[in-house]
């Protein structure tokens, strides 16, 4: 109970902290819109023939360009939450000097990441609701009712991304150029899971990497159920793959984080900036 209370307190602190930077809050909604979604929509629409995106239908089995892009934005947002809000923020706290006092408390180091995950997911949910409201109001975004069947996939993907966040936190606590590392890997991860385009368009040598990532299956399941796109694999098989890859990623991430914690305690670098 103490650990859970601590996790909730961390989430509350993050939510409070972020909410006091109003520009950042607005940015979390509008930046994905004007940096990613709108340009992609306009780019995709430039291939439309009499209002029909025939090319997209040929590629994945649906003409619903807005649905394809907005759902891709959901997974991109979740990935970004894991990379930046859960993992990189720990490094930012280390550099600001506020990580050290949290390590002086009896709260476990794992709970500190978990607390950040809760706070990050709050803002993720907040921004996605706002983005989807704009999508429905301005771009006629509509989904099939079957999209609800994909919600368990999203939930499992969240667990997987927390595992990824532990792994990333282990790295960013130890390396020098953490910001650059997170920036690059965040983008690569988003590309690899098929958020921007189907993974079948990736070079053959890179596709196996996509199949190792839990979020790839979540992405595909959400689009299948929401838009009726052609699936990568049989949906039941995709669920199994999602669960298996999550079950592998999470303990690896936790193990790496504990190793990093031990290393920092040996080197004494918790307060370096």
């Amino acid at each position: 109970m103490d650990e859970l209370r601590a996790a909730v307190a961390i989430a509350r602190k993050d939510i409070r902290n972020v909410s006091r930077y109003r520009f950042q809050v607005a940015s979390s909604i509008f930046t994905p819109l004007y940096q990613g979604i709108l340009p992609a929509l306009l780019f995709g629409a430039s291939f439309a023939v009499a209002g029909h995106v025939v090319g997209l239908e040929k590629t994945i089995g649906t003409q619903d360009l807005a649905g394809f892009i907005f759902l891709g934005g959901v997974m991109t947002g979740l990935v970004a939450t894991a990379f930046w809000s859960m993992a990189m923020s720990i490094r930012n706290e280390m550099e600001a000097g506020t990580l050290e006092p949290t390590w002086l408390t009896p709260t476990s180091r794992e709970t500190i990441v978990l607390g950040r995950a809760l706070g990050g997911l709050f803002w993720f949910a907040f921004s996605q609701i706002a983005i989807f409201a704009i999508g429905m109001g301005l771009f006629g975004l509509r989904f099939r009712p079957e999209i609800l069947l994909a919600l368990p996939a999203v939930a499992i993907a969240i667990v997987a991304m927390v595992g990824v966040a532990y792994l990333l936190a282990a790295v960013v606590l130890l390396i020098k150029e953490a910001n650059f590392f997170i920036d690059c890997t965040n983008y690569l991860f988003g590309v690899a899971i098929g958020a921007a385009f189907p993974i079948t368009l990736l070079p053959g040598a890179l596709q196996p990497v996509s199949y190792l990532l839990p979020a790839t299956y979540a992405m595909d399941l959400v689009r299948q159920q929401g838009l009726g796109t052609r699936p990568l694999l049989d949906p039941a098989l995709e669920y199994v793959a999602l669960i298996v890859t999550t079950a592998i990623v999470f303990p690896i991430g936790l193990w790496a984080y504990r190793r990093a914690d031990g290393r920092i305690r040996r080197l004494g670098t918790i307060n370096q900036y």
């Binding site: 209370r5 909730v8 050290e100 949290t102 009896p106 709260t107 305690r265 004494g268």
Partner: protein, 337 residues
């Protein structure tokens, strides 16, 4: 929790390796050729419950490294460390649950939160029972005199106020032991005096305080006992008064002597009537710090010595013995070098 000492340290050592070993070197099991830096070299320490214990030394002496090992932030290379009777390696979380620590002061606060919000957050991390949280926060704010500013953003606080808030946070777990790393560094004299009053209050409450400082006046005024640390080793450990008595001097005389010849004959004559703690030559002036039983006896002898060597005493200053003088006599250099 046992009733033994608050802190007991035996043979505590911390060695850092300089540089990194690449993955390739590790895979090939190449010998570790990195140079080693011994930050703390086999220190023994015992802090009794209810005392204010100071660790005094210059920057880089090993004070902060020692404190971090006690606070479980840094793993010792070797030695035994027991805090409140608990081995730091065996149950660090239990130690942290009973330890209040202020290590990096104002940098360790969230500036976009109010003082109260900062404390609410840390109260949860310290596993303070929810029913007690409000009372503990209020008590901590009263202890550091920040109650009337509790709902202001920390970004609007002065440095002194942030240091006090960091101390308030350290008090949230109602700790029997509080460790403070250079608590008054960067503060103006009034704020520093204020913080020292708060520290004395902690002792009156029955808590043990372990603090580091490089201000010898602070150590002198606050601490029941002091360990002087230099180059990772404890060079002396005793009460301030006993430490000063160690150098067998009551007064310190500083002389500036204008001279053209060699230092050695002059110093030899002065050494007949005092202990020469330190001497420095800058061009034509020899600056000497001497420890003596009585300045009234030593100063005329110094003038005689100067006359004999054809030198001129340009300046004489007599001050009571301080811990700085103790440090100089033990290490051969000043605390601030």
């Amino acid at each position: 929790m046992t009733t033994g000492p608050a802190v007991e340290v035996t043979g505590l050592t911390k060695v850092f390796e300089k540089g990194r070993r690449t993955v390739w070197q590790r895979l090939r099991r190449e010998p570790d050729k990195r140079s080693k830096f011994v930050a703390v070299n086999g220190i023994d320490l015992r802090v009794e419950r209810g005392e204010i214990f100071g660790v005094l030394g210059p920057n880089g002496a090993g004070k902060t490294t020692t404190l971090r090992m006690l606070a479980t932030l840094l793993e010792p290379t070797s030695g035994e460390v027991r805090v409140l009777g608990i081995d730091v390696r065996k149950d660090p979380r239990q130690i942290r649950a009973n330890l209040g620590a202020m290590l990096s002061g104002e940098r360790s606060l969230y500036w976009k939160l109010t003082a109260r919000e900062n404390l609410e957050y840390f109260a949860a991390l310290y596993h303070v029972p929810p029913k007690e949280t409000t009372a503990r926060i209020d008590a901590a704010l009263v202890a550091v005199k920040l109650t009337d500013r509790a709902d202001d953003y920390v970004e609007r606080y002065s440095t002194g106020m942030r240091q006090r808030l960091a101390l308030a946070r350290a008090l949230l777990p109602d700790p029997p032991l509080v460790i403070l790393d250079e608590p008054t560094v960067g503060l103006d004299p009034q704020s520093a005096r204020d913080l020292r009053d708060r520290v004395r209050e902690l002792k009156r409450q029955g808590r043990t305080v372990l603090l580091t400082t490089h201000y010898m006046e602070e150590a002198d005024q606050l601490c029941d006992r002091i360990a002087i640390i230099d180059h990772g080793e404890i060079v002396a450990l005793d009460t301030p008064a006993a430490l000063k008595r160690r150098i067998r001097a009551e007064e310190v005389v500083s002389l500036e002597i204008g001279m053209t010849g060699e230092d050695a004959p002059m110093l030899a004559r002065l050494a007949n009537s005092a202990v020469i703690a330190r001497s420095e030559r800058h061009n034509g002036t020899l600056a000497v710090t001497a420890h003596c039983a009585s300045a009234r006896d030593f100063v005329p002898a110094a003038f005689d010595a100067a006359r004999s060597e054809g030198a001129t005493i340009q300046h004489v200053e007599v001050v009571p013995v301080s811990l700085e003088d103790v440090f100089i006599s033990l290490t051969g250099r000043a605390l601030r070098e």
